[in-house]
Symmetry: C2
Subunit: 309 residues, 2 copies
């Protein structure tokens, strides 16, 4: 099938290197997650069981990949980058577990499996989510993540900002309120910037923080993440409109059904595709100082837009 979300595929091997890098990173971060997650032992074994069920559900591990790739630009030791990536994935996973709850998006299926509250129960899902969120900060604050307490504290402060009331959680609140409000393009862009953009931004900037780089490098990483994040979100929304449940690994068509505001519903499919391609090109521009070392990062937004639709 030559029709894709964002562009026509001209070279079927174009993303082979990126695909291999994504798989390699996913395996490495899953090994780290296995080490840092608590073991299912004792009277409360159900909590680590549910945490592990939620975490080891597959998934592209996009945020860990961003952290590993940005760390690679700045020669950060891989073990440090993997710990930060694991923290980000723990926080991302908690947000999925809580968002899937009946009182929120009420999803039964996630990555083709029962959601955590369906597999266990609602109380366990709330608590396992809380524990994953708490663990994310515990991983960052551990001296194994970086020898400098200043760097560790900065990672914690930035993740708390990105994941907090004025970041990811605020975005989820705006999303939940969408059906009763009449959001325009500006509101939807803000919604996405908070709901998914803030954590992408942290995932990208983390490499520069771990390397104790200055504001120039940090800003480039943030600039890349902003274009990338919005392009990613448009691709995700296109899948909800155009994809099948099998491809998406979750229920599709839910945005429209639930009255969720997306750029695809506001702009239409064609214009949203064009916007995503434009954002991807802008994102890549921010990486120009980094030469070939940034090739995987450059390919990533186009790879996401190249998924079959």
């Amino acid at each position: 099938m030559s029709e894709t979300l964002g562009a026509r595929t001209d070279d079927p091997t174009r993303f082979d290197k990126l695909n291999a890098a994504l798989k390699h990173t996913a395996q490495a971060v899953e090994r780290t997650l296995d080490q840092v997650l608590p073991q299912p032992e004792g009277l409360h074994a159900r909590i680590p069981e549910a945490m592990r069920y939620a975490i080891f559900a597959g998934g592209k591990r996009l945020r860990p990949f961003l952290t590993l790739a940005s760390s690679g630009l700045f020669d950060v030791p891989k073990e440090r980058a993997l710990r930060v990536a694991a923290a980000i994935e723990a926080l991302h996973t908690y947000s999925l577990v809580h968002d899937d709850l009946p009182c929120m998006d009420d999803d039964d299926l996630r990555r083709g499996r029962p959601t955590t509250h369906k597999q266990f129960d609602e109380a366990t899902a709330v608590l396992a989510g809380d524990a994953l969120l708490t663990l994310a900060f515990g991983i960052l604050a551990d001296p194994a993540t970086h020898p400098s307490g200043e760097v560790r504290s900065q990672l914690v402060a930035k993740l708390a900002q990105a994941g907090g009331a004025d970041g990811m959680i605020g975005g989820q609140m705006i999303d939940i309120l969408a059906p009763e409000r009449d959001y325009g393009e500006a509101e939807v862009i803000l919604l996405q910037a908070l709901k998914t953009g803030a954590l992408f931004e942290f995932a990208c900037e983390a490499g520069a923080i771990l390397a104790e780089k200055g504001e120039d490098d940090r800003k480039r990483m943030r600039d890349f993440s902003r274009g990338f994040g919005l392009a990613f979100q448009i691709a995700d929304d296109l899948i909800d409109v155009l994809g099948t449940e099998e491809e998406a690994g979750k229920a599709v068509g839910k945005d429209q059904e639930q009255g969720k505001a997306t750029l695809v519903s506001l702009l239409g499919i064609d214009e949203a595709r064009e916007m995503a391609a434009r954002l991807a090109r802008e994102a890549v521009n921010a990486l120009s100082p980094y030469g070939q070392a940034a090739d995987d990062l450059r390919a990533l937004p186009f790879f996401l837009l190249d998924r079959p639709a």
Copy 2:
């Protein structure tokens, strides 16, 4: 009324100084909380509104008091201690908001007011709880809390441990599973050590961490907190059995109704009272090196056991 939870009151002015110190600390920590909590602004204003509703519900602010009192033993600047106390209260409040949810303890009333999910809705309560938990770590990691990044990271790591899967959250899981299990005294003591003890321990040890004290002082603070925490829990369970809804500010008789295991249900009222008084005396022993500076901390467990029943 001369009958009390733990002992007969001989001197009605015995706790006047402690009472004044508790009120003073509560006011100071509430001012700090007002400064560090996000403002209800923007499209997601509902989140800070719910966070503030949950936080500013009154309450004794016992954990902040423990942090201020332990910091006072080690000459920690009060502003630093207040920030850590605010972080602990934010984390404690998130745990109340989530524990009150219909899928957990299903409580409609907390401190005499509708619980957060009754006042707002369940989704908002889940998210506001998540945001309070996230904020707790953000406060600790902020350079305003301590000039040393090592100290800030250590505070984050210890709070993540105390509040995590093998701490408070594990305790709540064990508590939820109680009706389908047959816990004995050892299991109930473990349950309480995790569910409430771990955070009390952090609140007490935080003073020594802020002062960069060695293991001797830290251990004394932990020893005090362990006896204190279990005595506090017994007092709380006695109120559930003996108190009125008006005194408790929440529904009473729920432990028995929900098949919750407590030391009061296992040992009976009289033996539980004796155990609490014994634990309080043991806790106070750990404070002997600190002279008069520790008088408020020494009085605290007896004050809690002295509440009318």
